[in-house]
Symmetry: D2
Subunit: 168 residues, 4 copies
């Protein structure tokens, strides 16, 4: 059991990172959301440091599992391989669906509840890459990915805030 | 937009109920879990009353969305239509996956946090239908369904406890 | 047991409503946040309807319990009756504390995860009454109350959105 | 601001540990719950290793904040310094209160949702120290502490399970 498990785990991280990239999101894009969120409190914050926090979030297995599950559902919706009415709900990013927010909280909670407000804020403001992911005219489905990206940024911002309080 | 929405919603409930039945779970099976959980506190509790609470939980849209999403993932895993490593993780019900518990909490939370302990308890004890859903020898994949069934039972038990406190 | 329980419950609602009022927040203030959140999607939304949704949220026992617990902690912090370091953390509304957000989610979750983004959004924007609650110059402590008010508004907005989808 | 913050933080950990001890719970007691939970899966698990995981959980600030807040409420209830009806609700450990479970989830979520089932299980089974904390005949109030102890054990068990999968 343990012998098979190790490669599965590292394959999770590799696949999660690859899928995020293939769906059009760079680590830098997520790091820019972290700067958007934390810049007001840390004016000297550089993109490089924000990237480090995003990378740390992506190393968490809970985060990888949420990324894989959410993007898989987006991709299957795009290929029309889900059944109705779930297919229509996900394809149209139906506002009352809620499972995209549910999966996002699994990412945020890893760094504590303080990330919830950051997530909610950028989810409504839609700065940077989140605007691109919400452009329905592309034909692509990003119902889960936009919440996942916002949640990773919010988690990274929480991590940064916790570290800053300890070390500054 | 509103004109299309109404049938989609009622189709959600119909489909959620149909999928639960097709995957081998009857409303009575879930109601028996409610009796298992609440029987010690309400010795006169009858299956009929437990069924009413399960029915009320199933009328909630958040619950229907969680049911549709979780069972869809189980069915796609069974048909090997998910990509690796997600396919293996879900097919083997990998203990560290966590998204099955995440989706279950979306159901439980509708009736408050007191359902969390009931859910955790029957998830470990596996009484009644939960034992059947955990039998890996059938070749069926119920990674999400067993948590969904436990969560519906826990939510129905919370509803019953809240109502009993008000009316007894 | 049941005989004592009933008055305790209705006393919970009365006390929760009284404390909210005594701390400077009117039901109308919370309803205005609902209009702020849902106005863009429902241009004909009147304050009166928003008030009805806030009232429905306040009738939920989970909400009352969260209100009582949070405001009690605010009041004890104001009277310096908490022990250190908790007293300083709550009095200064320390950004990394997190329990205020935790208690807020207990309110939001009653109407599903879609309220999370609304809550995060108004918590950062601080429209209306939330700006007053964040004015530290008054000497009053509202570390929990501002999150509770935002959460009640977000829950009421979710309730409104769910109902609108069913009935419009 | 940063200059004051550092001592406050380490004071949080010291105070959280001191309060847990003063309320009658040793780190070993919590570690024994971890062995109870993980023993079936890791037969060679020693108390010493379980203690290390409990210590790691106690170093998390989110956990410390939950511990301080919950135990503070228990202590104030014991001294009758809370107002009614909150005082009676907490003193009698009223089953529908729910805030004790809410605060517990803030601890569990730090190590992912897989801890939810462990927490629910030991909360119902009440092995070891949890039985002592539930003995109402002592006159002490442990409404929050028993959930906090169960949540720390569940989080430590999750941490152990995650590490074991990576290193075995």
């Amino acid at each position: 059991m343990t012998i098979e498990k190790k490669p599965v785990m590292s394959m999770s991280e590799k696949t999660a990172r690859r899928w995020i990239a293939e769906r059009g999101v760079k680590v830098e894009d997520i790091a820019e959301l972290v700067v958007y969120l934390q810049g007001p409190y840390h004016p000297n914050l550089e993109l490089k440091e924000a990237i480090d926090h995003v990378e740390a979030v992506l190393r968490k297995r809970e985060v990888q599992n949420a990324v894989l599950t959410g993007i898989q559902l987006d991709m299957l919706a795009e290929k029309e391989m889900l059944e109705e009415p779930l297919l229509s709900i996900i394809k149209t990013d139906e506002g009352l669906y809620g499972l995209d927010e549910t999966i996002a909280t699994a990412i945020i909670n890893v760094y504590g509840t303080i990330g919830l407000t950051s997530y909610g804020y950028i989810d409504k403001q839609k700065p940077g890459i989140l605007q691109f992911l919400n452009d329905k005219s592309t034909g692509q489905v990003h119902t889960f990915l936009d919440d996942i990206v916002g949640a990773i940024a919010a988690a990274a911002a929480s991590r940064l805030a916790h570290r800053a309080a300890h070390t500054e």
